[in-house]
Symmetry: D2
Subunit: 303 residues, 4 copies
């Protein structure tokens, strides 16, 4: 692991931290950390694996799971499709071009916003806490919170997400009673939930076992919904580099623009990675290299 870590760290120089959320731009570019958590509970960690970072798009996997558990498949897939798009994560093209104008999948921004509108709760704080509790429950850490500075930083500048949300409202993807600003507050809050590599690895291990926590032998999530989540991670989890990641790494994974990646080796490992320097598609540049090196060496591809 240390060798791989050191081999991959230099790739960070070809990328840079996300600039569009001012608070994220401050992240240390050269950081790289990883945690592998095996089914038997043994852990391999390296680098900056204890550093805290915001989940960003990784949280979309969990709002999808929570929305499925709260509303069922039919209600969720009335608002969001199942297809990869090939477009940028914040693209609006297909909303305008393809009938009936629902987001193509729950892991692009438009889709994740639609899914967030399905989280139950009486107000912004109630919904935020519900998602936060869900993450704490799966990660096994009651101390997990969300970074208000990041959430506020994004809220202050996220004009493209506002544009997306109002487009969804216009297309009747969002219910008539949905208040866009409140919805976006919930969205920015869950994107700002702070974790480290151990947390991601812990949650990924549960996904790796179909919702069963192998360390406690408790079924924490319905197996079918975990299956759905992992399928989306494989087909759409790495923005519009998902296809390439599937060919080169071949395991379900989800990235976030803070540089985190949560990856699942079915039946074997949960993996958490942090590396804030991003490639042009928005994925951790060193993190992707690290996963590719490990997958090839360990023959992890599910194909």
């Amino acid at each position: 692991m240390p060798r791989w870590l050191e081999d991959c760290r230099p790739f960070a120089h070809n990328g840079s931290p996300a600039a569009y959320i001012p608070e994220l731009a401050k992240a240390p570019k050269e950081a790289l950390g990883v945690t592998l958590l095996a089914t038997d509970g043994s852990t391999i960690s390296g680098g900056d694996s204890s550093q805290m970072f915001t989940m960003q798009s990784i949280s979309k996997v969990f709002t999808l799971l929570l929305a499925l558990m709260s509303n069922g498949e039919e209600a969720v897939f009335a608002k969001v499709g199942m297809e990869p798009t090939g477009d940028d994560f914040n693209s609006m093209l297909k909303l305008e071009l393809v009938e009936p104008g629902i987001p193509f999948n729950p892991l692009i921004n438009a889709g994740a916003i639609a899914v967030t509108s399905l989280i139950p709760g009486i107000d912004v704080m109630d919904k935020t806490l519900r998602i936060l509790e869900f993450i704490r429950y799966l990660a096994g850490d009651e101390n997990i919170g969300y970074n208000i500075a990041v959430s506020s930083s994004e809220a202050a500048t996220a004009y493209r997400n506002r544009s997306l949300a109002y487009f969804l409202k216009d297309n009747d993807v969002l219910d008539a009673q949905t208040d866009v600003e409140e919805l976006l507050s919930v969205y920015f809050n869950h994107c700002a939930i702070e974790v480290n590599c151990h947390h991601l690895a812990r949650m990924a291990l549960i996904l790796a076992h179909g919702g069963l926590d192998p360390l406690t032998n408790r079924q924490l999530l319905p197996r079918r919904y975990v299956q759905i989540a992992k399928t989306f991670m494989l087909t759409c989890g790495m923005y519009n580099a998902s296809g390439e990641f599937a060919i080169k790494v071949g395991i379900p994974a989800k990235s976030g623009v803070a540089g985190g990646i949560m990856a699942v080796v079915p039946g074997q490992y949960g993996i958490g990675i942090i590396g804030p320097a991003l490639d042009r598609r928005g994925n951790s540049i060193a993190g992707v290299r690290l996963l590719e090196a490990m997958s090839v060496e360990c023959d992890w591809s599910i194909f």
Copy 2:
């Protein structure tokens, strides 16, 4: 005129009033009115020419003129282009697809919102009044006001325009200090300015004379800006039926979704028309037919 009016009135049955602004959907579908004002001040009116209606997109011609007079050509064309698009009036495709992401012209919604951001004033009411005063000045009627019910109705439902405006904000077409909701309030207000066919004909006559009011012999508008406005009316004034209108009618005109059309016969006439039933492109279906009949009969095409 009465014959043409009666010949064209039945076409209204193939269209319907705009449904997306609830207040507009109440308009009488079969109404049709027209006023021709000649250079010597003689007037021909027919049908429902005294009925009041909101200007909607017709107001975009005047916010463009006001923005040009307040900011100059260079500042205006830094925020909006000069090209017809071929897309729907509320399309966002080219904002995403074509660098540098400024609206293609000032008469599509995105462009008109950008232009409205250039209207000087300290707050919503100040800017609204400035536009209103400008319309009163040109139409020669101090009693012109704006319909608050329509403005509020649109404000309550205009999610697509909000989406457009936030996209423009994200693309830096709107200045950092521009508040989107305030900007849209001004936009909805000027779209809700209420006029009748006489008012439109009066303003059109001034455009027909390059900014000179032939009835008072006063130059009310700079000739170059009137030229710009008329050019846009010809190339982009009738939404994405502008090209067809140019071929079939051949004069500068601007339509609004309340069913109004303001048309200019250079050097000869100012024309105002109302006919609330719209075709699928958003133009008054009977109004377009009426203009086509008159243009062919009187050989009005500028080509």
Copy 3:
């Protein structure tokens, strides 16, 4: 199996055979056949499993494998990407919109045409025979041929594919010396290779074992290339319903517009299906239902 077959057969009434290739439109709409070939060589067949049909897009999996074996990964991926598109299989949008204008993946038409250009051979017949030999070798049947009537029927009407090919030529995806008509002849020929469900199942079983034929214990294909092929089958194999198929069925599969589907249950089964009535995305409507029923019942999803 017979029960499932009979349960799924009625779905064919909601679809119809491909109309755009005249010869295919003659196919019996209500036909449905399936063959499952297990690792130990045991076979379950039902319905019209012995009926011959043309591979159409299913052949794209094998031209990809042959191109990889003849040219290596680097050369192939210089001409074709790795991403799902979300667009129709014959769409040209992304070729115009997304730099550098190479097809997004090898399983849409544009990508398959680019891949076919990499098949070695001195002329149309040489290249056609090379692909045919490859299919015969994998399917274990020297009598497999291609249907000249179908190939000619497609050649006579495939204006969209010609348009795609010339666009690729213009974008320099096809080499300067590539003759478009000759390339398309090879393409139409390999699409017209005739097989039955047993042949598809036989080839799928080899893919299910990473290129090893479990019945003869011979490694017929390089494992890495089989991995690539199966990954594309999962992310892009069912046209722009691939994402939905991954969620609902969860196994690598490739469909053709003649109604065939080749599906892979890793380590367990090769599956061949025929059902000429297609859904609006171009997949066998009863075939997809049959795979979904079997996958849910037998828990085949790889996720």
Copy 4:
């Protein structure tokens, strides 16, 4: 005139001759010539006004006129629309995106190819000669021919136009019996018709007088069709800079990628210009500047 010519010549340094037709790339970059022909027959010429060059897209105006004269408005507008597009002249986006898939107007490549399919004649040469005779008749010079080297050069490399033509064939815009290669031969031939500035000015003067040749007082073209042609020149004649040209120059004009521009000052002048260095939209960079300078000075805008 000489002053304007010399003022505008340096702009050529910011552009370059069309590279995509190899034969055109040889044109002298710094050339600039102009001819103004007045209604009374007086001529002002300057610079390289006698240099011969190929009409390229300028010929589209005349194939449109000939198609209208041979088929009538209804037949022509069944195959081509009336709207500007805002897209590149060789774009295919709207053919795929907008029903019913006919080209938006007759002056983009797709539209001009569709119009060329309406030219009567028994074979390529017959159709080519018919167009050539039409040009000779209007330009008043029996010696006008077409440049076979340019036509062949384009035929050998015009993969994008082939792609466009096959797309039109697939969309049934081209008749079933239309042979694409033959159609393109006619198209390349009429684009390769060689003229000089005097020829363009001569033809433009006829357009400036509604089809009447003021020098012979003969009506050479139906007035309505000339009106249609001039309208398209104004709305779509300068590729996707047509809107800007309308604002800045304000007269009907058509450019070609060999650097020619034919412009019409209604009732006054016919203008021919040559300047092979093009801007990024494909218009003669010095030629556009020259027209702008003259239009502002002489107040030519029709608005």
